[in-house]
Amino acid sequence: MVKRQVMFTFPQELIKEPIIYNLSQQFTVVTNIRRADISEDKGWVVLELEGEEKDIEQGIAWVISKGVRVDPVIGDIVEG
């Protein structure tokens, strides 16, 4: 089991979809929300994912395929 801390950024059209719920149902990934801000036109959620490495990878790929932007919580590591 591994843990991964990520930020999801939702475009307006996806705010009402139960993406995080579906992620946990379809990929055996435990989702644990730590911070979030959702308004009418956009939203972001900081959460920890826990599961098997491959389930997390597949889950994230699915979330991205839905149109959600997924970034590491620690920000970009590659610096100039």
Binding site: I74, G75, E79
Partner: protein
């Protein structure tokens, strides 16, 4: 022993011991070093600093270190009065903090000097970073100085020629067959898997503190006062927040008057997530895909963007983005007026300064400091089309004919 007492979550305030760790377990926000300022205040004075070494380590008491420091000669760089540039822009009291003049030619030596000192204290024998330029060179140089292993990760689309300034220090250079984002993800996983000091991951809270020395130096070099306005380049936003913290600490320690510095951050328009949020009045920084020649500050998902945004707002400052053309013009203007050859990030700062003055936000008589954080020799390739020479035959006559001068 130093005066650092704990790591503290910037969001929820939870405290953690001083160990290699960068995120709050609870809310996943960045951690920051907290100090015993009461005891620190008793140990510092203007006179004591003045008698210290001519380097960033004259402010050792304000930094989170407990052992002999790893120093390759960083800091106490010149603060020069820029009258020619000031005149061009319409400023009477403009100063340039020239941090090109560090051992590896950028301000990153300040942050890395602290991070490697901590890495050694924590007992790491290996340090690592992911960087295409300034950070890579600095990490490799400091690791060389103390005989540590250094791994430097770069995306595969990097031109190999760009890495000579890092390779010379003989780190392990790892080219990752993948994109910028792939390298980000890989490094996140490696940091979790290996017991390494990852400079901008588990050592990040300590690394961050090194940037405060820029503020200390500017204040001391100005006769112990804080500027009215500063313009600072922002990538992750960390430098910007720590310049503010540095000034704030000096005031708290009674070394300067209460700070009323307007903090302006600058980014390239091709990668300006923090400026975008400022302009939109948003409190959240939405990540972007970088597309700019100012590669050293091209961070699409800035870890400290939220906090940088807060500093810009709270200080009555602002945020300004400039195009690549404006940045190159800024580099040229700085070189032509002050004889300082900055890299693209410096061009961004000068171009942003120009805009801020033109729009009336920074006023003529305000004491203004522009932070030039990296040297131009690092990004020469973006200037290839400014080179214009006149070819002559190897005779005095040919010279006089072409240039119209006579004896």
């Amino acid at each position: 022993m130093g005066y650092a007492i704990a790591l503290r979550c910037r969001k929820c305030g939870r405290e953690y011991p001083l160990e290699p760790r960068n995120l709050c377990d609870f809310c996943l926000s960045p951690l920051e070093v907290n100090y015993d300022y009461k005891s620190m205040a008793k140990a510092v004075s203007r006179e004591k600093f003045a008698g210290g070494p001519q380097s960033m380590w004259r402010y050792r008491e304000l930094l989170p270190v407990d052992s002999e420091v790893v120093d390759i000669g960083t800091g106490f760089t010149p603060l020069v009065k820029a009258d020619n540039l000031g005149q061009k822009l319409g400023l009477e009291r403009l100063y340039i903090k020239n941090d090109c003049l560090n051992p590896t030619y950028s301000f990153k030596d300040r942050v890395v000097s602290v991070a490697i000192t901590k890495a050694r204290e924590f007992g790491f024998d290996t340090v690592a970073c992911a960087s295409t330029g300034n950070l890579a060179a600095s990490v490799a140089a400091h690791a060389a100085k103390v005989n540590m292993n250094a791994y430097v990760f770069v995306p595969s689309n990097m031109e190999p020629g760009k890495l000579a300034g890092t390779a010379i220090y003989n780190p392990v250079l790892v080219t990752v067959d993948g994109s910028y984002d792939d390298v980000n993800r890989l490094c996140g996983k490696l940091a979790a898997r290996y017991n390494w000091g990852f400079i901008n991951i588990n050592l990040r809270p300590y690394y961050a503190e090194g940037s405060k020395t820029l503020a200390y130096e500017v204040a001391e070099q100005s006769g112990w006062c804080a500027p009215d306005c500063v313009v600072v380049p922002a990538a992750s936003g960390l430098l910007f927040t720590r310049i503010w913290k540095g000034l704030d600490e000096l005031a708290m320690l009674g070394l300067i008057e209460p700070v009323n510095t307007h903090m302006y951050l600058s980014q390239a328009a091709g990668c300006s997530p923090i400026v975008n949020a400022f302009a939109a009045g948003s409190i959240h920084v939405h990540p972007v895909e970088p597309d700019t020649i100012a590669k050293s500050i091209a961070i699409g998902n800035p870890a400290d963007g939220y906090y940088a945004l807060r500093v810009a707002r709270q200080s009555g400052g602002g945020a300004s983005a400039v195009t690549d053309e404006e940045a190159v013009a800024g580099m040229r203007l700085l070189a032509e007026t002050e004889g300082i050859f900055a890299e693209a990030a410096g061009g961004v700062v000068i171009a942003a300064l120009k805009k801020l003055v033109a729009s009336g936000l920074i006023k003529k008589s305000e004491l203004t400091v522009a932070f030039i954080t990296g040297a131009g020799s690092k990004t020469q390739e973006i200037l290839s089309d400014i080179v214009q020479t006149s070819t002559i035959k190897p005779t005095p006559e040919s010279f006089e004919e072409v240039f119209g001068v006579s004896v």
